[in-house]
């Protein structure tokens, strides 16, 4: 085994993302992992291709360097489609300028990679960033690409083709679950593995599940499917008249959803709580957690709820969901979009305290397979494996 030699003094680990601070899950994840690796003695460098539209507040000074490649955003050009596209001179010039610029920025990456010590790793967290990394000299480093969403979700976007094309050139591509990895393998990628996200925190004080409260947490956007949650609640609430549904989060659909809630006659049993800064506190106040998303990757919200010993009912909308929840054991799943079934699952949990307690406690225990220690160990094992 080469593990000891390579990690003595730590590895040089680069994170390359679209931007180092854009608002979103990937940024949160990158900085969480960066700190964890730092604690293990690795050297970290976070690289963004360009600056962000909506930056995320990353708190005080970061304990590792960050670099943004472009000072001015690279021009946007679509692919040349058909004869008309090929003859479009303006677009052609812009495309040429963009390609030249990409090579220039990739040279910066090459310099960083070539300066790294042997055993260095480049983690490319998004496929867009890979378009630069692939142009750089990576002979001195191991390139690990990542796709932080489910296969199905990628499939509906342009990322599907790009993942197949660009990440095929990485040494390794990580998906969130084995099921997602298998689907990519069946698309012809043979450099694929998987790595779950780490649990963000383990609350010291779990929920006692005494309040008659069902919790939902997530942005009020189409993807989170709160409209379907309200449909389900309209079926489940009359059977459990003393329970309330607390909906945490805000977002563009807030108004429409509140209107739907009123229209369904649910105003007395639904509480709109807005965005919260105290997730553990909110979780302590609930007895059941519900997630009704149209699509997910490896949802942190479920992991947090389980860590707080709150049993979950969720749409089985992604491999990550059925990976986190063991259906019938530490939570309950419903067929995606089947609000009737989701209502039944909620009803099952609301009407059976014993089941709630049993599933909640087991959830808190089971979710510890994703603790930060465990996930960091798996990463370091992977680094070593890829050197064999």
């Amino acid at each position: 085994m080469t593990e000891q030699t390579a990690t003595a003094g730590g590895r040089d680990i680069f994170f390359v993302s679209n931007s180092f601070d854009e608002l979103g899950g990937v940024t949160t994840w990158s900085h969480q992992m960066a700190r964890l690796f730092l604690e293990r003695g690795h050297r970290i460098h976070i690289v963004g291709i360009t600056d962000s539209d909506v930056p995320q507040d990353l708190g005080c000074r970061l304990p590792y360097p960050t670099t943004t490649l472009y000072e001015v955003r690279p021009p946007k050009v679509g692919p040349a489609l058909g004869l008309k596209g090929k003859l479009n001179l303006v677009a052609r010039l812009r495309r040429a300028a963009r390609t030249a610029g990409m090579h220039e920025q990739a040279t910066k990456l090459s310099r960083m990679f070539n300066a790294a010590r042997p055993g260095a790793v480049v983690i490319v967290t998004q496929v867009w960033a890979m378009e630069w990394v692939r142009l750089a000299d990576t002979s001195n480093v191991t390139v690990i690409g990542m796709s932080h969403e489910s296969y199905e979700y990628s499939k509906a976007t342009s990322r599907f083709g790009r993942v197949k094309k660009y990440f095929a050139e990485a040494d390794h591509l990580l998906l969130l679950t084995q099921e997602d990895a298998d689907l990519w393998i069946r698309q012809g990628l043979d450099n694929v593995g998987y790595m779950p996200n780490p649990l963000p925190f383990m609350p010291d004080e779990p929920s006692q599940r005494t309040e008659k409260v069902v919790l939902s947490m997530g942005r009020l956007t189409d993807q989170k499917g709160i409209d379907m949650l309200l449909d389900a609640w309209a079926e489940a609430a009359p059977l459990n008249p003393d329970w309330v549904l607390q909906i945490y989060g805000d977002g563009e659909d807030e108004e429409a959803l509140k209107k739907q809630c009123t229209h369904l006659g649910l105003d007395s049993s639904v509480e709109w709580r807005g965005r919260t800064g105290d997730v553990p506190g909110a979780l302590r106040g609930g007895s059941v957690f519900v997630q009704s998303s149209r699509g997910e990757g490896f949802p942190l919200a479920l992991m947090e709820a389980m860590a707080a010993a709150v049993p979950c009912a969720a749409f089985d909308c992604a491999p990550g969901v059925r990976e986190i929840i063991r259906d019938g054991e530490d939570g309950l799943l419903a067929a995606p979009g089947n609000t009737h079934e989701l209502a039944q699952r909620l009803n099952t949990l609301m009407s059976d305290q014993e089941l709630r307690d049993q599933m909640g406690e087991l959830a808190r225990k089971n979710i510890q397979r994703y603790t930060t220690d465990e996930i960091v160990r798996r990463w370091e094992e992977l680094f070593a494996f890829l050197e064999r």
């Binding site: 040494d171 084995q178 099921e179 990895a181 298998d182 393998i185 069946r186 012809g188 043979d190 450099n191 593995g193 189409d222 993807q223 499917g225 409209d227 379907m228 449909d231 149209r294 909308c317 067929a335 995606p336 979009g337 089947n338 609000t339 009737h340 494996f385 050197e387 064999r388």
Partner: protein
């Protein structure tokens, strides 16, 4: 010490060995060693191995067996004994490993702690134009999985019998002393079986790991060079016997059964297909070997395989070659019928023999294949050459015999026919010669033909080298096309005939009869003179040149452009950008029922009412499929999705349909869309269905736009307003409370019956030949789709023969399955059970039936208007109601008739149909009031009055 040892075996393959070895050295996983074991080659293989060893010290080792072993077993065993790695893999010198193979296998082995990891093998056809690849049993490798015992996945042992796409823990191999057998072919079968059985845990990964290069030179084998195949079969059977012993010793009876099934499905079939082409001696030896092995095959295994696989195996055991050879031919060519068949006691059998043996009767029963009901044109009849004569120059005289299944070509049928020679690759030309005779002869049709091939046939040359021989029979105006099987006629030794290709005789000067791969008669162009032989070579060379590639590329582009013109995308664009700019034509009405598949339902009722009232309009009906039948003569027919169809829709004043015109077509404001819909809902619909709820907002908006095209949506009750209208989020003003035009006739029938006190049967009863004295029952189930929306195959959920036996003297049962399904009824139920699936319109059937059996079909809502008895055969209600999308109400509570779940309950309910009927009269009345209040018999009149009489607005 390396982690993985890859044993590369080689025999007389010096040329390819370096590529194989390089595929290991170039692995992304570095800790790998190569052991080359040369089976004492006669060529430079061992030298090359030594050179590789010298070039890669410490990574490659070369060994040579002292003498040739003639197989793969001995060198691999030697490799195992010399291996040092924690894991062992095998590679043949003509194949290669995928470059991540070792990394993926070792990752899986370490993750799962399995003794054996197996990945997907890919067959590469190296001689095909684009190196075609085929995955080897991909269903076994669709996802990563770990099994604790081979009994969890018998198919793995049964199908994936390769040793090479696997990675074995070396300590596991040594501990169980796993060895390849030596001195016998198919050593992989035994080795892999031993490994599967011994393994404590097996991991499967979906990755491609091994590329199996296959070169198939297209030379057809003559009988003489098939001799070695009998030895192969002997080895195959012997290996199977040893695997069976292994399984038995481990108590794996269930695995043995799976293996038996596979033997019938696969191993035997490989050889059965060739039987019509091999000589007598071969057949005898083959039969003896097969019979000995088949004796140990479980009788139940025959039930698990395709009919012809079972029939062939059975007839082989009975040594009945007269019936076996045609069956083997049918096996080789699906859709071909090579026996005249017999009918006994209402069942159809492959042959008249062996029916006294219960096993024989069971296996030879082919009733389910529908040979007695399906049109003769739907399968190809077996045609066997009985003589072949030529004059040595250019004329031939052929005769043959065509089967006449169950005498379906009757003695008085008008017969004629032609012999046709048709180029296989490009069907630019065909040459026909009239048959000189064609007549009944016992249970077959005999024919003869004379053809002056030299004088008539003018191939182009080069591109049309193979000419297939067809015999086309004209039977009462219908054409039955048949290929001519060579059978026992020796055409190989017949003369080559003269021929004059249009590209001059430089390219070919002779044409020779020959048997195709499947044993059918063809003629092949040949170059006999030296000059044409040379030209042939030149042309073959030119065809592989760069210039030829360029030509082919341009041809492909032209073909693509043609395809694009007829693609959906282009059509939709033309509809919007061209046709929709044309003026709307007053009085142009486009009708469509069930996506063009029928002339039926409310669109038909409205159309007929318009005709009855003499409305001035231009009727266009849409049809799906190739040949529209059953539509009225005085309408313009347009094929769904054709340009005329799109143009008619773009210019129509009215759209009338019952399901939905193509979703991507925008309706113009000047066009009025009357959506009649096709039934009240039990199942949740539209936005009440999970799959639509799940769509993104944009996806939901798209769907809503297609629904918003409806200007009028017909409903038959407030139930529809609560369910369908809400599920489709229709605007209130769109709802049109007229009832369904299609049901006007049912309401009228009910009224007539009440007034006259008697039930008229009408023309349909006579057409179907229904006995006046019998009660007519209609069985009309809904179709069942699985979660992905694919329609499941339909089998009547009760035994129709039992029904006929028990009720045939009292009832006539009409079966109407969903139009996407097909039913096959045995001859035994003739006259007592009728298949009426083919009729377009169900309404006359409802009016005819004295009672209805259904499950969840919306016909229940329509039929209840007749106030006649109904039985609900809801044998899978829970599954239907819950599994997919849920229902609006519980059918079991509201059903206006008995709800039964088993065949015996169904038969009991049928038995007491009349007696219990009055019980349900009140429930029926409530049902009609709840679901059909607006069906008052004047729906079509209301529609016509509202939209189509002068002065009526939209």
């Amino acid at each position: 010490m390396p982690d993985v040892s890859v044993v590369v075996i080689v025999y007389n393959d010096a040329g390819r060995l370096p590529t194989a070895v390089q595929s290991v050295l170039g692995q992304t996983y570095q800790s790998v060693e190569v052991l080359i074991v040369d089976d004492c080659s006669k060529d430079r293989s061992f030298q090359v191995a030594k050179e590789l060893e010298a070039a890669h010290p410490g990574r490659v080792r070369a060994f040579q067996l002292p003498e040739n072993s003639g197989g793969c077993g001995a060198p691999r065993n030697y490799g195992i004994s010399e291996a040092l790695g924690a894991y062992v893999m095998f590679l043949d010198s003509d194949d290669v490993l995928e470059k991540n193979a070792c990394r993926n296998m070792i990752a899986a082995a370490e993750r799962t702690d399995a003794d054996l990891v197996s990945g997907m093998c890919v067959r590469v056809y190296v001689d095909s134009r684009h190196a075609k690849t085929v995955e080897w049993y991909p269903w076994l490798y669709s996802r990563s999985r770990t099994i604790e015992s081979i009994t969890e996945l018998p198919d793995l042992l049964v199908f994936d019998t390769l040793s090479t796409n696997k990675c074995y823990r070396r300590s596991f191999v040594l501990e169980h002393n796993l060895q390849f057998p030596v001195g016998i072919h198919y050593e992989d079968l035994l080795f892999s079986a031993q490994a599967y059985v011994a393994a404590g845990r097996i991991a499967l990964i979906p990755n491609h790991v091994y590329f199996w290069n296959i070169s198939e030179k297209a030379s057809t084998k003559s009988i003489s060079n098939r001799r070695h195949e009998i030895a192969n079969f002997e080895h195959r059977v012997e290996i199977h016997r040893r695997v069976d012993e292994l399984l038995q010793a481990n108590g794996y009876e269930d695995l043995k059964f799976h293996k038996d099934v596979k033997f019938l499905k696969h191993d035997l079939v490989l050889h059965l297909r060739d039987l019509p082409l091999v000589d007598h001696e071969y057949r005898r030896e083959f039969r003896d070997l097969a019979d000995a092995y088949l004796a140990a095959v479980a009788p139940d295994a025959y039930d698990e395989v395709q009919p012809f696989q079972a029939i062939c195996a059975y007839l082989l055991r009975r040594n009945d070659w007269a019936n076996l050879l045609p069956a083997a031919q049918a096996l080789a060519s699906p859709g071909k019928l090579t026996s005249s068949l017999v009918e006994r006691d209402g069942r159809v059998y492959w042959c008249a023999e062996h029916l006294d043996d219960p096993e024989g009767a069971r296996i030879l029963d082919v009733t389910g294949l529908g040979y007695h009901t399906r049109p003769l044109t739907s399968f190809s009849l077996g045609n066997r050459l009985t003589s072949y004569l030529d004059n040595g120059v250019g004329k031939v005289r052929l005769s043959g015999s065509v089967v006449n299944p169950l005498g379906r070509v009757t003695a008085d049928a008008k017969l004629a026919g032609t012999l046709e020679l048709r180029a296989r690759r490009t069907s630019l030309q065909s040459f026909r010669f009239p048959l000189t005779s064609l007549a009944h002869d016992g249970d077959a049709l005999k024919w003869t033909a004379e053809a002056d091939i030299a004088g008539t046939l003018r191939p182009l040359g080069v591109i049309d080298a193979v000419w297939d021989v067809w015999v086309n029979l004209e039977v009462d105006g219908e054409t039955l096309r048949t290929r001519v099987a060579v059978g026992s006629i020796d055409v190989d030794s017949a003369h080559a005939l003269q021929v004059r290709p249009r590209l001059s005789r430089l390219v070919a000067d002779r044409i020779k009869p020959s048997a195709s791969k499947k044993g059918n008669l063809s003629y092949v162009l040949a170059a006999e003179s030296r000059l044409s032989a040379r030209t042939q070579n030149l042309i073959q060379h030119a065809l592989q040149s760069k210039a030829a590639d360029l030509t082919k590329t341009s041809l492909r582009k032209v073909r693509k452009a043609k395809k694009d013109l007829h693609s959906g995308r282009t059509k939709i664009r033309v509809y919007h950008e061209v046709f929709s700019k044309l003026p709307v034509k007053k009085g142009l009405v486009v009708f469509e029922s069930h996506l063009g598949k029928q002339y039926s339902d409310s669109p038909k009722a409205i159309y007929e009412e318009m005709r009855r009232q003499g409305v001035q309009f231009k009727a266009v009906w849409s049809y799906a499929g190739n040949q529209p039948t059953g539509f009225p003569d005085d309408v313009t027919l347009v094929k769904r999705w054709s340009y005329p169809y799109l143009r008619a829709l773009a210019q129509a004043e009215f759209w009338i349909d019952n399901q939905g015109f193509p979703l991507k077509l925008t309706k113009r404001d000047e066009t009025t869309y009357i959506q009649t819909w096709h039934g009240s809902a039990l199942k949740r619909m539209g936005f009440h269905e999970p799959r639509l709820k799940l769509r993104s907002r944009a996806g939901q908006d798209d769907f809503q736009r297609t629904l918003d095209r409806f200007d009028h949506f017909l409903i038959r009750s407030e139930h529809d307003a609560e369910t369908l209208a809400k599920g489709f989020r229709l605007r209130p003003e769109v709802l049109t409370r007229t009832g369904y035009p299609r049901n006007d006739k049912l309401v009228a029938a009910r009224k007539r019956e009440a007034e006259t006190g008697s039930r008229e049967r009408g023309a349909l009863a006579a057409e179907l030949g229904i006995d006046e004295a019998k009660t007519v029952l209609l069985y009309a189930p809904t179709f069942r789709a699985n979660a992905q929306g694919t329609v499941k195959r339909f089998e009547p959920p009760f035994d129709v023969e039992d029904f006929a036996w028990r009720f045939g003297d009292r009832y006539t049962l009409l079966i109407r399955s969903h139009y996407l399904n097909q039913v096959v009824l045995p001859p035994s139920v003739q006259g007592r059970v009728l298949d009426v699936t083919g009729l377009h319109d169900i309404t006359p059937l409802l009016a005819l039936a004295d009672g209805l059996i259904t499950d969840y079909s919306s016909v229940m809502f329509d039929y209840s208007l007749l106030d006649r008895p109904m039985i609900f055969f809801a044998y899978d209600y829970e599954e239907y109601a819950n599994e997919t999308r849920g229902t609006y109400f519980d059918l079991r509570e509201k059903a206006p008739g008995p709800v039964v779940t088993t065949e015996s309950e169904l038969f009991a309910a049928i038995d007491e149909l009349k007696a219990t009927d009055t019980e349900y009269a009140e429930a029926r009345r409530r049902f009609v009031a709840g679901f059909g209040e607006y069906d008052q018999g004047d729906a079509a009149q209301q529609i016509v009055a509202k939209f189509f009489t002068s002065g009526s607005g939209k």
